[in-house]
Subunit: 476 residues, 2 copies
Amino acid sequence: MNDPLLAELARIVGPAHVLADGDLSAWEQDWRKRARGKALAVVRPGSTPEVAAVVKACAAAGHALVPQGGNTGLVVGGIPDGSGTQVVLSLQRMQRVRSLDADNLTVTVEAGCILQQLQQAAEAAGLLFPLSLAAEGSCTIGGNLATNAGGTQVLRYGNARDLCLGLEVVTPQGEVWDGLSGLRKDNTGYDLRDLFIGSEGTLGIITAATLKLYPQPAATLTAWAAVPSMDAAVRLLTLARERLAAGLTGFEVMGRFALSLVVRHFPQLRVPFSEDAQEAAAPWGVLLELADTESEGHARAQLEALLEAALDEGCAVDAVVAESLAQARELWHVRESIPLAQAEEGLNIKHDIALPISRIPAYCEETGALLAREIEGVRLVTFGHLGDGNLHYNVQAPEGADGREFLRTQEDRINALVYEQVRRYEGSISAEHGVGALKAETLPDYKPAVALGLMRAIKQALDPQGLMNPGKVLAG
Amino acid sequence: MNDPLLAELARIVGPAHVLADGDLSAWEQDWRKRARGKALAVVRPGSTPEVAAVVKACAAAGHALVPQGGNTGLVVGGIPDGSGTQVVLSLQRMQRVRSLDADNLTVTVEAGCILQQLQQAAEAAGLLFPLSLAAEGSCTIGGNLATNAGGTQVLRYGNARDLCLGLEVVTPQGEVWDGLSGLRKDNTGYDLRDLFIGSEGTLGIITAATLKLYPQPAATLTAWAAVPSMDAAVRLLTLARERLAAGLTGFEVMGRFALSLVVRHFPQLRVPFSEDAQEAAAPWGVLLELADTESEGHARAQLEALLEAALDEGCAVDAVVAESLAQARELWHVRESIPLAQAEEGLNIKHDIALPISRIPAYCEETGALLAREIEGVRLVTFGHLGDGNLHYNVQAPEGADGREFLRTQEDRINALVYEQVRRYEGSISAEHGVGALKAETLPDYKPAVALGLMRAIKQALDPQGLMNPGKVLAG
């Protein structure tokens, strides 16, 4: 630790928690392995005052900080650049559940708490913390908040933002804002909480949060519907919202080709209605989840009545309700296996887009036709959270083509085509994954200049030295 | 119009929409008649480009702007100061519903749209816009968003903030940010929407918004429970949330003295369980509302089962479910008559506080005892949205005492006592009414300095001239 900054950091957090030598790839390499940075050091504070002291030390030395949680982000938002000058501030040691208030339905946790551990802490108190996403076994709640994570329960409970009542944040000046709050209403000034949520560590470091809890439902049921068109899927969604209201906790759509990849690469999984004839009649699958406060019997009656109505109205051609928890898990497993099956099939170009739900059928039809015209044999892996208007609209090379070559020659062109379509349909080029470094350069092409100007003014006001996760969200 | 600014404004919006002479009290006087300002002029633009041009003209001339909707605010946030130099920008002419998208469950409206008209536009499409509050016949959606208004449906649907997907805003520089969006997910940068919501016109002028709609429930039922203590009311709330989940759309609590004022001043209203013996056993009344997607029969069975369980567990001593819509309206009418009955009784000191729900029983007991010790015979009018942890904790002079004299001698002392208690219980001194000019001077005593510093930095960055509603939220 010859560097005076490293010596100072070691003094603050203890020498064991400043990592500057050896293999730092766990912190320097992003989860999808799209980029690899080089850190001056990884520092792992154990408390909020230590975070504040680290920030002050780095600010005094003029070194940039990159906050990091579980490093499971998908947009290269949590790793350092290649300069070797940035300090990775890992929140992983700050895992404590500070308090849980059952009557107020709130829990206060430190930023490094793993999402799954938080879910389990709630469950142990007989309550539900509903945020749920693929990386829940290793992502942290701090990262979830910094990126305003989504997942499969957003339709009912909202994004990470909607689940948060208060934050503790270390500012770029190393001050601690204690905005932890168990209040559901507080109109005493600007909404700092929501400004830090989703800012991807560029305005300050979230060190703790007070989050909403919910009573556990009495029963949760899952169904699968085979649907003749995206238009029918939207009609089924409307019907489900009318009949189930807030009981509808999940509504996922999966395209025929996406499901065929699961059949191909995970033959042990049973994909409903995947025979050729069935597929032709119903090119989309829909996974529905209903949470009920009364009983499983009531839930089943509700769900069956919905599906009967859907069959009558022609917005589903076939449907099945899971008979057991195991069967429900199997259906979800199919949905969750799509990204893995796609990876098995080869490299592909991913898009995490949001659209007004009403415009998704036309978007899909038109964009699919445009892509097919541009690239013969192109294959679309379309799936996602239709209830939130959020599609993972991924583009796979033609059968047999080389994925790497496809990315090299087509990625920019396909991105431009897809994003231009998203703009035409008044959508967003990042629904739930954020901007990070991956989309920071692209963002100005699709975000109004006035909005970017406001963002830059806020960034400049809060972080005038520009030391908080530079190059993320706002390109340099 | 000799003043060159007024001439310029008349050129922009038309001479008929610049009011500088005559009685301007409708714009200069706040709703509760606590303050009266003096405007240079009232300007009433008819479109967003006109708003932008007005802002540019005022900025060029160095005149401050005070945006105003229905002028129903309770914290002196929408009227000019006494200098005679500020321009009131009234959004009242911008009332249009621009579009409604039933499949996306969204509506886009201009800021001056009256809340009730918006509710009716949704209803005409067979949908629900759930924001509901006492002033809905005259308040505007722009004002609702600028103050992040609450009301009686927050428990289920959230505040105005939670109902908004996107905004159109004119910045202090007179630029138009088109952030209108029908998207439920959009992680492309800082949350500008929520920054403008609740900023009370101090960062820019909201000119339009895209808002969430919901399917209409099949049935809505109302019940009244007589409750032996505030602690029992909290237990009843927990029970109701467990059993009804999102079906529980309202949970209002009303203290015995508050209800006795309704009995005294509105003898034509039937207040349930208001005989002396009943009141002694149950010093609190609770109004519950259940919205059900199935049927009235299902709703009634659910609500009756809940109330039976509550009686069994001792968190209610008596209860009644409204038998008809008329009876339900009558129960709500009792609740809504409390502020009017209190006004009939004389002047009083109002507090709009939020607390963690779990701590409300102890807060009420301790604060009530403190006040009784300080002021012999003091009377507490306590009522509000217990489901949101939001109490209107109002203090009335002793029986027979002069209200004006009571306010003159006691208001500062009582405010200090109540707010100090709110601080001790980790609450907020403004739950849903905002800060305005009324609480701007007080806020720094109860808000962390770091938060205020962040707010001032944002204000300075976005409105460096300090011309947007100066003196509101942040004192000069």
